[in-house]
Subunit: 396 residues, 2 copies
């Protein structure tokens, strides 16, 4: 089992049931660092932001010591008094942890429009703090789940020159429902013991999110609660990583890799999904074009249902590509499904249909598109669309 957010030095985690979820499962998690952290965050662009998000945006530039996360209640669109409750809750937790309330971040996921279960959360603080441990990362990862079917954790090492040979990065995430075009919440918490300045951390996080979590959502639809936070407590004692230092690229690549792994876990765990879909687009005129096409195809309901039906309907793929305004060589496009070339130039290609139908029975489906207009490429991830998705969301 992985170590997730407690993989880097000096991070503890805890996850308990405080009474929000009716099924008795973990619904309250805490990440705690033994020393202050430089932090970076990316938050939902939705105009209606959860009060938890509003709190975190306000405090992200402080020296951070802890992150509280509850699941089962979104703390969004529930009236102004809940912002006061949020502040009070942070104050209570600060007192218990003997740290400033402004050094705590907060994230929530769950039902919108319901009062924050202030008493339930507050009364659970003693137990939550008592359970803080480098071993409880798995329980913390469970405490942030909603309709996820498995906790998502990951960790990675990065080589750093100079005195220290390595720094550690760990993370946990929760999924985004059907991912697209839904508004279900995506949360991700990343920890590292690297010494890194704020500018470098912010840049690295933005770049990494762009190529990972943003490639599993379409049209930048965001929930009221989407949050990605990265904490760096500096305990690795490496030479400070600046945006122009030679170690920065290593750190950035590791962070990207970690985020991509978590993003793929989210796609794999899409609500009701039976298959994982990877869409690789190359030959693009610019980065924007290939990203747009990859996300459009991975997010197309018609492509998603065709994959669910193990139906090699490349016409729907082509229609999704064409519905974007990406630059395409209309006379020279290439499409492969599961490695089998089905379209080239302006013509469908003869292929072994039996073989392709068999390949579509796999759990992981790859779609490759070559736009033949340039050298940019991008990959998006998604899942198929099944009857089960509809069933889950009728009731949730």
């Amino acid at each position: 089992m992985g170590k997730g957010v407690t993989y880097p030095f000096g991070f503890y985690a805890s996850g308990i049931h405080c009474g929000i979820k009716e099924n008795g499962k973990e619904d309250l998690s805490l990440i705690y660092s033994i020393s202050p952290c430089v932090s970076a965050g990316m938050f939902t662009t939705n105009q209606f932001k959860s009060y938890s998000v509003i709190w975190s945006i306000k405090n992200i530039k402080n020296e951070i010591r802890a992150v509280l996360i509850n699941s089962g209640n979104a703390n969004a669109c529930n009236g102004k008094k809940n912002y006061l409750l949020t502040q009070k809750l942070m104050e209570e937790l600060g007192t218990k942890l003997k740290i400033e309330k402004n050094s705590i971040l907060f994230a929530s996921t769950g039902i919108i429009g319901v009062d924050l279960p202030y008493e339930k959360i507050k009364n659970a603080f003693d137990k939550l703090i008592k359970n803080l441990s480098p071993e409880n990362n798995y329980l913390a990862a469970k405490g942030i789940m909603t309709t996820d079917t498995f906790p998502k954790e990951c960790e990675i090492n990065t080589e750093i020159k100079g005195r220290k040979k390595e720094v550690f990065i760990g993370g946990m995430a929760k999924g985004a429902g059907m991912i697209n075009p839904s508004l279900a919440t995506m949360l991700c918490f990343i920890t590292t013991d690297a010494v890194i300045d704020r500018e470098a951390l912010e840049f690295a996080l933005k770049e990494s999110v762009e190529e990972s979590f943003n490639m599993i959502t379409v049209d930048n639809d965001m929930s009221t609660n989407d949050t990605v936070i990265c904490l760096a407590n500096g305990l690795a004692r490496n030479k400070t990583i600046h945006i122009d230092s030679s170690d920065f690229e290593n750190f950035l690549n590791s962070l990207k890799e970690l985020c991509t792994k978590l993003a793929k876990m989210i796609a794999f765990d899409g609500e009701g999904a039976s298959k994982f879909i990877e869409v690789e687009v190359k030959g693009g005129w610019c980065k924007k074009d290939v990203r747009r096409v990859a996300k459009k195809v991975a997010g197309s309901s018609l492509v998603k249902t065709a994959i669910a039906g193990e139906n090699p309907n490349w016409g729907r793929i082509l229609a999704a590509v064409g519905s974007t305004n990406a630059r395409i060589d209309m006379k020279n496009i290439e499409i492969k499904i599961c490695g089998v070339e089905v379209f080239r130039g302006t013509e469908p290609l003869r292929h072994n249909e039996e073989k392709l139908k068999n390949l579509l029975k796999n759990k992981e489906i790859k779609i490759e598109i070559d736009l033949k207009r340039g050298n940019f490429s991008a990959t998006a991830w998604g899942c198929d669309l099944t009857e089960e998705y509809v069933k889950i969301n009728k009731e949730y």
Copy 2:
């Protein structure tokens, strides 16, 4: 039963089975005018256009006499030789009808990437022409259906000053699958006996489509085949309608009304739909804002599944509104579901939940949103998202 496209003077229609659909249903339709028509068309913006669309775009400005429509085959992404077949087919039909091939428009809907069934269509021309009649509008409306569960027809009268008191407008349409965010095809054919110049007809059609068909699709995703065509044969002998003549507004309003009725029929007949959803947005800063919000809410998978589950989940409505960049008064928004106010200002409102749950059992669900920022309003239409939709699209 209505008269649809044969309602105005001088239009004949026909619909037969030529052998494309395996179930023996009508799959080939023809609209014919006894005198030449001024015509206007709006076609898909998809970069991969059906060869039928390419043909029609090329000929729309000619004097039009007929429109051929087949269902079951999209004539799209099937290789260049199919454009030659398309031209040959138009020539054959022209010869049979004793009109120029360039006076015929063509539309197709069905499976992408399959050769145009040239022989089947050509061999059916004699029967198709023999059946032309002012009575066969219903068969023509059936011949353009794919997964539609009922033919969609409509007609309307417009008052015109001067010698003639009225002109007639008729239309038929086929639906757009799940409507959003799918790429299934929407076709609409409108006929009128009005005397109207091209500029006025083009403007009226564009305006009407904007407020009707474009309010049932989201993100302007379009299929390879989407087509709206309006033919005006001038047999009403009214004084020519120009864009600045006093009759223009009457004509425009009637065309809008006709298009809106057809658009609502399409929304009502969304694949697998059990409920019709109307989203009315008012108080907008500008037209673009209200249109965007209305379409976003009507197109949200989470709103659609909630409605399918008869679940008054206004949080999903609010999240969909917030995910747009429309100007909103965040402290003063109002939401009603089925006439029951559920959110005002920044607070959820206490309401009779039992009553609302009962209202949600209805087949027609209305959502009202007041953005409180201005005087613009717009309405969008959609349907709920059910397990049945997924089932249809896994197999189709």
